[in-house]
Symmetry: C2
């Protein structure tokens, strides 16, 4: 399984935001694009993908490719899906997530909890300018790509990644947006060992 974990440092934690200004809603535009990059192909969904969005260290939205329904490629409808998740925030109690729509789970969980859960499920991979070029690295079997939004990881987040022996990989010489990095990471895995017929 491929996983992506995106830390949204300024993301909203309530449903009180406007779909008309997603950048102003803690860069929800970027989070929405990252979700669609993680799951959508041209006319299909990548079922064997899990994506976690950490919202301001308070909630984590977990999306499951095998269960998702009606995920559409535009930012606004994806942001509306995330807003529906936040409308169910009172149902996320303790370790029990809310399940507002198929394949979408809202956990009362911050960065550390989300990273710990992901680290239990696969190998953490950070896309980093000091990493080895992807072309020189064999992808791990169950990679969990850990990304940050428009801000850098905090000191605590970076420390956690070091403690969990996170692999550092570089996809290319240019610094990409999180959603672009997800698309390139998928292509890296798609083409690993691929021979066109």
């Amino acid at each position: 399984m491929r996983q992506f974990l995106l830390v949204g440092h300024e993301a909203p934690t309530t449903a009180e935001f406007s779909l008309e200004d997603l950048p102003g809603a803690g860069r929800l535009d970027l989070l929405a694009r990252s979700v669609t990059s993680a799951f959508l192909l041209s006319h299909a969904i990548r079922e064997s993908v899990r994506c976690r969005l950490v919202l301001a260290d308070e909630f984590t939205v977990r999306l499951e490719g095998a269960e998702l329904r009606n995920l559409r490629p535009d930012e606004r409808s994806t942001a509306a899906l995330l807003r529906t998740a936040l409308e169910a925030r009172e149902n996320a109690v303790g370790s029990i997530p809310a399940e507002p729509t198929p394949g979408v789970y809202l956990h009362r969980q911050g960065v550390e909890g989300a990273l710990a859960a992901a680290a239990d499920e696969g190998r953490l991979v950070q896309l980093h300018e000091d990493g080895k070029p992807a072309s020189d690295v064999d992808p791990p079997a169950d990679p969990v790509f850990v990304l940050s939004d428009h801000r850098e990881f905090t000191g605590c987040e970076a420390e956690f990644l070091v403690q969990h022996d996170t692999e550092r990989v570089r996809l290319g010489p240019e610094a990409l947006h999180a959603d672009q990095a997800i698309t390139v990471a998928h292509n890296w895995l798609d083409t690993d060992g691929w021979t066109a017929v």
Copy 2:
């Protein structure tokens, strides 16, 4: 210079569309994402990029990376930029484009005219499932990636591409959305001959 030419078969040709429903406006969400994928890096713009969007075989919006100002990563603001271009449609007369905002040119030009102009400026490259894997191909010096929106190229468009000796390349085993393909194509060119320091 890197170029992208995206054919929007159902794209609007007037400014009479709502920013609240970009998918319903001839998949303007996809066109907007393709523009930002073509130009934007994490904290920079790719200046040596030209992008043409063909709008329903009637108009072509040409965007120039070296001149663009205020291109933001979200779909809505990019769609607003395209709407502003279409508001100037009466100023696009004959071969003279309108120039409504810096780096954005609106031409009264359909698919064939846009393809012919691009073919004069570089080597046409079609991302195609019958193409050679990108990893086995040396990228041409001035590639013009030709893409279609959610629809296939028409017979006439496909014929034009054959006549112009268009190179066929495959980026991977999965069929991607146009904006994702642009991101992966950039990475292909970025990493060609790249050695991380």
